[in-house]
Structure formats: C-alpha cells, structure tokens
Symmetry: C2
Subunit: 302 residues, 2 copies
C-alpha cells in the first residue's frame, strides 16, 4: 500500500488542545509521510534574519491526524521509519530570554547561523556535522488543558528529544477519540539538552506508521522504544521534578515486569540504564529514564 | 615496572581538604593498584543490616596519593585501566532523607538488598545484572574549602559518574602541591542518576596510571576522556546550575579548539554531543557535557 501524505498545507496547529479537529483520518496500520516546515516557518533564510523577523506564532505541527478507533486509555504507536531533509539549509538561533546560557557573559542574542546541507552533513562555521534528524515536536490531544506547541507535557509536544528519530518507536497515551497526532519542529542535528534553544531547524518529510496498542496497562506519559531500551519521557518545570516523574514511570514498569514492590523496583532502577537529558530550555524541561530491554520485555504487559 | 599498591590500610580520608598529607608519594607515570573498601565499609553484609548499622562517618577514599611535581595550575591525569571486584557481594540501600523518590508513596527506607557476585554478574532479586564497575568517589585536594567525601565539587569527590570506569581517563585540576589523589566508593553496577542513592556498593582494586599534564590551558573542573568524547563534569546544588557550568566548560573548549566566539561555540554545543546526568542524589548533583572527539581534538591545546 502506498504511503499517504499529510502536509503542512493540509493543516497545522500551534496548540495541542483537547478538542482538535483532524485534517486527515487514517486507520490503524496506515503508512504516512508527514511533511513539516521548520520551526521558524521559512522566515529565517539568511544570517541577517534574526528572531525579530519571525511571526509571533511559531512551531507549527502538521496535523492533527485522527487515528480511527483510538480511544482514551489506548496507547498510540508511532513508528518513525525515516526522516528526510526537505530543504538545502537549516538555521540555529539565539534569542533573548531563551536558552541555557541566556544572559551569561559573552553570549549574544539574537544571532542566526545558517547551516547549509550537503552530502549528508550540515556545515556550522566551517565545521561539518553529520545530519542526524530529530522530530522536535510530536504529540496528541491532551486530556483537559491546552498546551502551545512550544511546551512539552504528558501529551508529548515540544519534547526535543534526540531519541525521537528514525529507527525508534514513540508511544503516547490516548486522551481523546482519534488521538489527534501532530508533529513538526524537526532538526537536522541537535545535542542532548538543546542548550542554545534550537538545533539546526529544518523542513522534513517524516515516514511513520501509526497504530493503536490495545493494552490493559496504559501509560501516563510518552515512551520511546529504541533498539536497546524502553525510555520513559517526563516534562516538568524543573529537571529535578522531571527526573522524579521519569523515574517513577521506570519504577512502575520494572515493578510490573518483575513482580517487585516499588522499593525493590526503585533500587533496580538505580542499577541499570538511567536518567538522560532531552532538553533544558523549552521552558518546561524534558528528561528520560532508559530501561535496557534486558530488564523490560514489554511495557504494555501484552 | 611492577604496579605499586596503595591500600585503604595505608590510609583513607573522609574529607577532601586543602591541606592533606599523602600516605604515599609517587612519580608521574607510576602504575598503581588502589585498593578500596565499599562505601559502607563492610558494615552491611546481610539484608538485615540496615543503614542504621553504619557508622556516622562513611565513604572512605583510599589515599591521598601525592604525585611528585604536580603543582597548582597543572592537570592531573588518571588513566583507569581496570577495576576488579574484591568481594563476593555488593549492597544496595535506601535510607530516609536520601534518594530521588525519598518520601514517595510505596518507597520504603531503610531497606538493604544484597547483590551476590557470580560469573561477572550481580544478582538483584533474582535478576542478573552484568558487573560494570564505576569509581564513585575520586578527586584531589581542593583549592580553599573542604568537602566531605559524600559531596562532589570542582575537585571531584563523590561524582558518582558512570563514565568513571575502566578504559576512560579522568583529569582533575591540581589545586595543591602533589595533587593529593584519593578514590573509593566503587559500585559493581550503577545507573545514570543513582536514583535510590546507591549503586551496588562494593570493594575493589583499581588499576590506574597517574600522570601530570603540562598545559597552558588548565581546567576548572573534572574532565573525562572516553573512547569517543571529552566530557566536562560539573556539580552544583541544582541540575539547572550544574547544566550551566558543564555547558560553559564545553563552550570554552569548543571556542578554543575552533577559534569561535562564545556565542558560536554555544550554538555548536547545541548541535553535537550534549548534556548527560551523572547523579541526582549526593546531595550536590553532577551533570556532564559530552563533546564528541570529532569536534575536540585536545582540550589542553598541546
């Protein structure tokens, strides 16, 4: 079956809200190509284009895509098969009031650097960095509150997580009928932390297969499956709070898998895999707790 | 030349202080085996031994080892060649007032779990975890303040960093004549984060070669060289502060290597490698910023 395309021209959102209307409806198992604009929506094409030239509303996510039959309590499975770069340059920016070292001595904002793409690498200040694309913003309609596409929360959103890449599978709790998947804000390359506030922001085509996991054991927050690990993602106001949430999710998963009480699962979580940083700038921050597959065969207890 | 042994029986410290006296003096280039006790010093050998049975002063670090000729402004190089487990069991504990999920529902403290060692693995609640030893506490005499061996800071100390393992090389700023290296607090296995407050605490023999790096470009905090990356380590009261320090160090290193200004180096740091979590419990926390060697050939500008 040919892939179906959903483009930013079909529709985008700037807010993950509980009551979204889908721009496309697909059945579970559908193979999709999702076309996304860069997070600054084409407004920054040269180094003289500073963040001031950007419209107030940014970080468009393509969608929402309604997945027929996905109901609250289900888990939405999004296999990321490929991310293709769809333009000849990305851009890295700083802006005032944003970024880990904002206001530190010697750190100037605003600044724009264009990163031309050639032969599988971007160039930053004469330095070649291999293209290794990341989907920055991806999520579903939340339970009750609305979140702009600039923040991450339990529905996903601006997770800016390097694990959100080709070869991995993202899982989201379904809060609303149809799940209402949307994604965008891709980077040609990004460090864990996304310290200056951006990666190399770039338009892409993302190949995904969407599916619904029937499970008696739901999830409260996004989960990413890598070749080696199940990774619990949590976003909060501080890194400490995000670490607590991600660790609590890991503890629950380990307890269920091994029939341990919470304390033993917590002690096991202190021995294997561990906490990782996704981003520290969005301004809610995102942390993950990776559990190697050797210790977790199936988080859904199927 | 045979390795020289420095044992916990030769001397241990509970405080990294500016005015330490060495228990051994070695020349740069000396190959050493450092024998360490577990962080609870043999007081927890069964699951009925709770943290209450532990003396008030714990986390002994073997040393200090005076390195002849190391002077303030130099960098001490400690190549970790091997870490051998030196007893038949480790222990994982929880204690009240300590650990990421301390006080959370279902998390009991104190609790002790013994992890027997057999055939290169520890066993936790019937689950096998491969032995992958970590040196938890390692550091030098600090500049002016004293730090118990339970906290990490710019001198090293209780860094609880999984990168502090065989095959990697640790670098410390030298603040005092002779550097005064000490180490201990090893784990048979530990997760990034050390969430419950311990790994599998265990006695070891650590093979190291100590050396002095002559450099015009010193370091402010510990640095670890892995096969693929140079990793800046920073400890602070919050994860946010530790991230800022580790990122600032990475920015300085990238700026010096590539002749970039701080802002461009910051933007580059947001594209490659990135922030990682060492531990979130000590109670000062430790974060690292990994810079792939592809972007940093030599942090010392030799």
């Amino acid at each position: 079956m040919a892939r179906r395309t959903v483009s930013h021209e079909d529709g985008t959102i700037y807010e993950f809200a509980p009551d979204l209307d889908g721009v496309a409806t697909v059945d579970p198992g559908t193979r999709l190509t999702v076309e996304t604009v860069d997070s600054l929506e084409g407004t920054v094409g040269a180094e003289s284009d500073l963040v001031e030239s950007v419209p107030e509303e940014v970080n468009a996510a393509t969608g929402p895509i309604e997945v027929a039959g996905a109901s609250p309590g289900d888990v939405l499975r999004v296999e990321i098969e490929a991310i293709r770069i769809a333009e000849d340059r990305g851009r890295v920016i700083t802006m005032e009031g944003f970024g880990l070292l904002d206001g530190h001595e010697g750190i100037e904002a605003p600044r724009t650097r264009i990163t031309p793409v050639e032969d599988g690498a971007i160039e930053f200040a004469g330095i070649e960095v291999p293209v290794d694309p990341v989907v920055g913003t991806i999520g579903v309609a939340p339970e009750s509150e609305s979140y702009t596409t600039l923040v991450p929360h339990d529905h996903g959103g601006n997770l800016d997580t390097t694990a959100m890449t080709a070869g991995n599978v993202a899982y989201f709790p379904v809060f609303q009928e149809g799940a209402m998947l949307a994604m965008g804000d891709c980077k040609a390359a990004m460090a864990d932390g996304e310290m200056c506030g951006t990666g190399s922001e770039i338009a892409t085509e993302i190949d995904v297969t969407v599916d619904v996991v029937e499970t008696a054991r739901g999830i409260d927050r996004p989960l990413v499956e890598t070749p080696d690990a199940w990774t619990a993602l949590a976003s909060a106001e501080t890194l400490e709070e995000a670490c607590e949430l991600a660790n609590r999710d890991a503890v629950s998963l380990l307890a269920a898998e091994h029939g341990l009480d919470a304390t033993d699962a917590y002690m096991l979580s202190s021995l294997v895999g561990g906490l990782e940083i996704s981003q520290v700038v969005d301004p809610l921050v995102t942390v993950r707790n990776a559990i190697p597959k050797a210790y977790l065969s199936d988080p859904f207890g199927r």
